[in-house]
Amino acid sequence: MPSMEFLLATGIGAVTTCGLWLLLRGRSFSVVLGLTVLGYAVNVFIFAMGRLWRNAPAILGQGGAVADPLPQALVLTAIVIGFATTGFVIELALRSRHDNGSDHVDGHEPGTPLPDDAGADAVADVRAEVPR
């Protein structure tokens, strides 16, 4: 029988792989999912820094061993903030799709030019300032 530690470590690895793969996709929704999934892995990873404990919640006065409460406290706020970030990114993705007409992360469909060339103008302005 494998140990819990082995299951947890490989589980973290599998979820991380999954999250990174989604993070590297070209569509904003996949990236949002990737961030969420990566968040799970990272939270569990931080939680695991307090080592694994069975039937030992960090509640005092019940006798017996007690799990390390500090990583738990850190992860608790991380979960909530992770949710807020997901909310922000998904709405950013929506806004981007509707302003650019594409849900590709680059803001335009692959193979088509940028929606506007404001950036190119800015570069040209800088060039004009170079002393001759």
Partner: protein, 960 residues
């Protein structure tokens, strides 16, 4: 306050701020006030200096120190000795004259406040350089002169005519002198490390130790680069002619009398430390001599009055540098003397050039001619000053040039160039006579003016000429009787510079018939002949200078740098976010892997001592259920990677992973985390589905095979690394700071749920920051999507409507039942949070879930109406109230004289309820609760409002 500090700070604070304030409106009265204010400040600084002068002349060195940043050796140390006094007087006196001159020079629409404020800033920086006792402090002021001169040269940078020229000149000056200053800083730091101090008062006595040090040559070269860039020595001289785009008073002040002398000042200042070695002589003297001869030659061929004067300045600076480099006491005396002489006549000449420009509208010698008849006074003054520049007897320039020739001849014996030195010196002398002659002949004689922009030039007002008259009279006075004019000052400064009294010398007009006099005569006759020959044989006016090597090199270098930077950016940044993320992740993976690889290599293959391996902690046996869940997780991961293009399926699979995460927490003694994760899971799934409704239901298959392989490899590497790292950690025992919290939680925090006590008490400050971040994220969402409406189809691709015709009966009834239950549950969770799993975060999320369910059942608009949330806008207030409660609870601790967020608790006994554990932390937790509810609901509400569509609000985009 110490008078020396006052001398520097007076122009810096009173001068800069006062002038900027006084000159903020462009009215004649204001302009006068600004000029008077600047003059007053400069005069006050001068008076303070003069007050100290007797002590210095008596041989004292005034020192004053205060700590600034003692950790790096940077102290506010001031020093007034002979050398500092000479330069400080030069700066303040010429500064006063320039202020007077500029009052008449500046045009009505030139902003006077800006001009005088910058001039004051510059004056303060210069005074800081010469009065600093601490070398690092000196560097600070050194860079301040670079910055203020950049601003002064670019004074007309915004004007349509000549603005581009001013900007280019300013930028070039800043790049060269600022860059040189940075190089010099390296040299100074090195010098400080060698000597063990940055204080000149200690450093000056450690010259021998410094010169014997192995790093001395490096420090010397670095410091010399700083001096040479500032003092426009070849090959860094090219910025000075371009800086002539500055207003003429600035040129007279910065580019003749003061700033370009800063490099020379530092050479003189550090002469007792750095001078006296063969290396010093071999670098400084040849550079100075070559600059002197080369720039004098170039000056003859310049058509612009100020361009001619700029090259002449470079040439004279070269002369001074050469004298310093000769490394003999008398040469140093001559160098000090020429600093004063050059400042006197060159400032006068620049002011004359400014008068001519002011009156005729041009500085081009090809257009100017015959002004003798129109401006006889100015012409006379210019002639005397030019005579001083050429080294004609009776003017001060003659004396120092004689000394220069004498040293050049004397230096021949110990200087390896042999005959080269007197020959080059005489050549430089010939050229300087020729350009001085050209300055006078081309402007004041040589026929009639040809096409002046202003056809009727006349004498300027007396007060514009007054500074020139003063300087020219001084030129003659010094030329006739040097011993009673500049003599004592030169003696004092040279003594300071050398560290001992110079050998007996005699400043006088007549030294008898000797070789230097012959050289002077040759230079005068040769110069006249050279100029006449050029006039006769070669039309000087048609000459077009070519091959400005330094400038060309500079522009090529700068262009190349910019091109290179652009190429580098273009190569790295293709505008593809996927590529960015891939690069970022690769770097992260490599950085995380590096210690393992290094440890493995360091320990040697197979040795196994340093290479990471699994630890010896007793592991927890896994039960069958855990293995089953684990297998399920792996299957979900595979399914997600393969099937993420179907987005609905992907959201479900992500939700499964979230649930497994919650189970993991529950199984591994983290009930608080399990509760949090579970409730977040509900809200975020709702959020993802709401987002998905406005996005395409599937992702296209578009990644190339190569990209898939790359991403796959990267993801696997990252995942494997995380797994390996987790394994390494989990198999080891640990020692945690948490035991501290476990010990103190009950006695000091008044709660037995340590996780919650950490959140609201021990690390309350962190939590406060985190709920603030939560609120900010929700507000960000609000800002992003507020008032934004999307048009979207009523039904999905299969024709199923997105919206219920009316809320389903079951859901409505369920929601009605769930809401009060959920609210009671969250109150319970909140209340017991301090002692049992629960708390503000979890209670807030449970409440939010119940309210979201209500929204789904009743429709968002109805639910929000019931909550009196004004279409979601009021949720912002909830966030504010929550943060306010949390913050005020924290501030409450101040009332008891405790630090922010110190908590108090008690166990009051109430009738009916019994003993109640009551902690002020509970109030803080209430703030957390309200913020969490507000932020969650705001995020969902804004998204819901955007997708409701149909409203009158502007719709952008074509919808999904």
């Amino acid at each position: 306050m110490n008078p020396l500090a006052t001398v520097v700070l007076l122009p810096l604070l009173a001068g800069t701020l006062g002038c900027a304030w006084a000159g903020r409106h462009p009215s004649p009265g204001r302009r006068r006030l600004t000029a008077w204010w600047a003059a007053g400040v400069a005069a006050a600084a001068l008076a303070l200096l003069l007050q100290q002068a007797p002590a210095v002349f008596a041989g004292q060195t005034l020192l004053w120190q205060a700590e600034w940043l003692p950790g790096i050796g940077l102290n506010l140390g001031w020093r007034l000795d002979g050398l500092a006094l000479m330069f400080a007087l030069l700066i303040t006196v010429v500064g006063l004259l320039v202020i007077l001159y500029a009052a008449y020079y500046l045009h009505d629409d030139d902003p006077a406040g800006k001009f005088y404020a910058l001039l004051m800033l510059f004056m303060s920086a210069m005074l800081g350089i010469v009065l600093a006792d601490n070398l690092l402090l000196l560097v600070v002021f050194w860079e301040l002169t670079s910055v203020s001169s950049f601003l002064l040269v670019g004074y007309w940078g915004a004007s349509p005519k000549g603005g581009a020229e001013a900007r280019t000149g300013a930028r070039m000056a800043l790049t060269v002198t600022g860059g040189g200053g940075l190089v010099m800083l390296a040299g100074i730091v090195l010098l400080g490390q060698i000597a063990g101090t940055y204080e000149l008062s200690q450093l000056l006595g450690r010259g021998e130790a410094v010169r014997a040090h192995a790093l001395y040559p490096l420090a010397l070269v670095l410091i010399l680069v700083g001096c040479f860039t500032k003092s426009a020595q070849w090959p860094f001289h090219f910025w000075l002619p371009d800086a002539m785009a500055a207003p003429t008073p600035v040129s007279a002040y910065l580019h003749s009398a003061t700033m370009v002398k800063a490099g020379i000042f530092l050479l003189m200042r550090l002469y007792p430390v750095l001078g006296g070695t063969a290396l010093f002589e071999w670098i400084v003297a040849p550079v100075g001599l070559f600059t002197m001869a080369y720039a004098a030659y170039v000056a003859v061929f310049r058509h612009d009055l100020k361009g001619l004067l700029a090259y002449s300045t470079i040439s004279h600076l070269g002369l001074i540098v050469f004298l310093i480099g000769l490394d003999t006491p008398l040469a140093e005396v001559a160098a000090v003397f020429h600093v004063l002489n050059h400042a006197t006549f060159k400032a006068a000449l620049f002011m004359t050039a400014g008068i001519i420009d002011h009156e005729t509208g041009t500085r081009d010698m090809r257009k100017l001619a015959g002004l003798m008849k129109l401006m006889p006074w100015t012409a006379t003054l210019a002639m005397v000053a030019a005579a001083a520049m050429a080294g004609v007897p009776l003017a001060n320039g003659f004396l120092s040039k004689e000394m220069f020739f004498a040293e050049a001849v004397a230096g021949r014996s110990h200087f390896l160039f042999g005959l080269m030195v007197p020959v080059l010196a005489t050549f430089g002398g010939i050229c300087s006579v020729a350009y001085s002659l050209r300055f006078i002949h081309d402007v004041f004689f040589n026929g009639q003016p040809k096409g002046l922009p202003n056809p009727h030039p006349h004498e300027p007002p007396l007060f514009m000429k007054a500074p020139v008259i003063l300087l020219v009279v001084l030129c003659l006075a010094v030329g006739v009787a040097p011993g009673i004019t500049y003599g004592p000052m030169v003696q004092l400064a040279a003594t300071t510079m050398l560290g001992h009294a110079p050998p007996a010398y005699h400043l006088a007009l007549w030294h008898g018939l000797n070789l230097p006099l012959l050289m002077s005569a040759v230079a005068l006759a040769g110069g006249v002949a050279f100029y006449m020959a050029l006039q006769r044989r070669y039309n000087l006016h048609l000459h077009h200078p070519r091959g400005l090597t330094g400038r060309l090199l500079y522009t090529r270098l700068l262009d190349g740098l910019l091109r290179g930077a652009r190429g580098l950016i273009g190569g790295l940044d293709t505008g593809s976010l996927q590529r960015h993320v891939a690069v970022l992740l690769s770097v992260a993976v490599a950085a995380a892997a590096w210690p393992f690889i290094a440890a493995g290599v360091g320990a040697g293959v197979g040795a196994g001592t340093g290479a990471p391996s699994a630890g010896t902690r007793t592991l927890l046996p896994a039960d069958a259920l855990s293995v089953l869940v684990w297998a399920g997780l792996l299957a979900v991961c595979v399914a997600l990677v393969r099937g993420h293009r179907d987005r609905l399926q992907a959201v479900v699979l992500v939700g499964v992973i979230g649930l497994i995460t919650a189970l993991t927490f529950a199984a591994l003694s983290a009930p608080d985390l399990a509760l949090t994760q579970l409730s977040v899971e509900v809200v975020s799934t709702v959020l993802l589905l709401m987002g998905l409704a406005l996005l395409p239901p599937t992702s296209p298959r578009e990644s190339s095979a190569a990209r898939c392989w790359r991403d796959g490899a990267l993801a696997l590497a990252g995942g494997a690394g995380m797994a390996w790292l987790s394994w390494l950690v989990l198999t080891r025992d640990h020692d945690s700071i948490s035991w501290f919290f476990l010990d103190r939680s009950l006695p000091q925090g008044g709660g037995s749920n340590v996780v919650n006590v950490i959140l609201v008490d021990f690390r309350g400050y962190d939590t406060f920051g985190e709920i603030a971040v939560l609120g900010i994220a929700a507000l960000g969402v609000f800002a992003l999507l507020d008032g934004w409406r999307v048009r979207r189809p009523v039904a999905d691709a299969q024709g199923r409507p997105w919206r219920f015709a009316r809320p389903p009966l079951m859901l409505r009834h369920a929601a009605r039942l769930v809401l009060p239950l959920a609210l009671v549950l969250s109150a319970y969770l909140f209340w017991r949070g301090h002692n049992l799993p629960g708390g503000g975060f979890i209670a807030g999320l449970v409440t939010a879930v119940a309210l979201v369910l209500q929204s789904m059942a009743l429709g968002q608009a109805r639910a929000e109406a019931l909550l009196r949330a004004a279409g979601g806008q009021r949720f912002v207030r909830w966030i504010g109230v929550g943060l306010g409660i949390a913050g005020l609870t924290g501030l409450g601790a101040f009332a008891f004289g405790q630090p922010f967020l110190t908590s108090a608790f008690g166990h009051p006994v109430l009738p009916l309820l019994g003993e109640l554990p009551l902690a002020s932390a509970a109030l803080f937790d209430l703030g957390v609760y309200i913020t969490v509810v507000g932020a969650t609901l705001l995020t969902l509400s804004v998204l819901g409002a955007a997708s409701r569509g149909g409203g009158a609000a502007p719709a952008r985009g074509e919808g999904a």
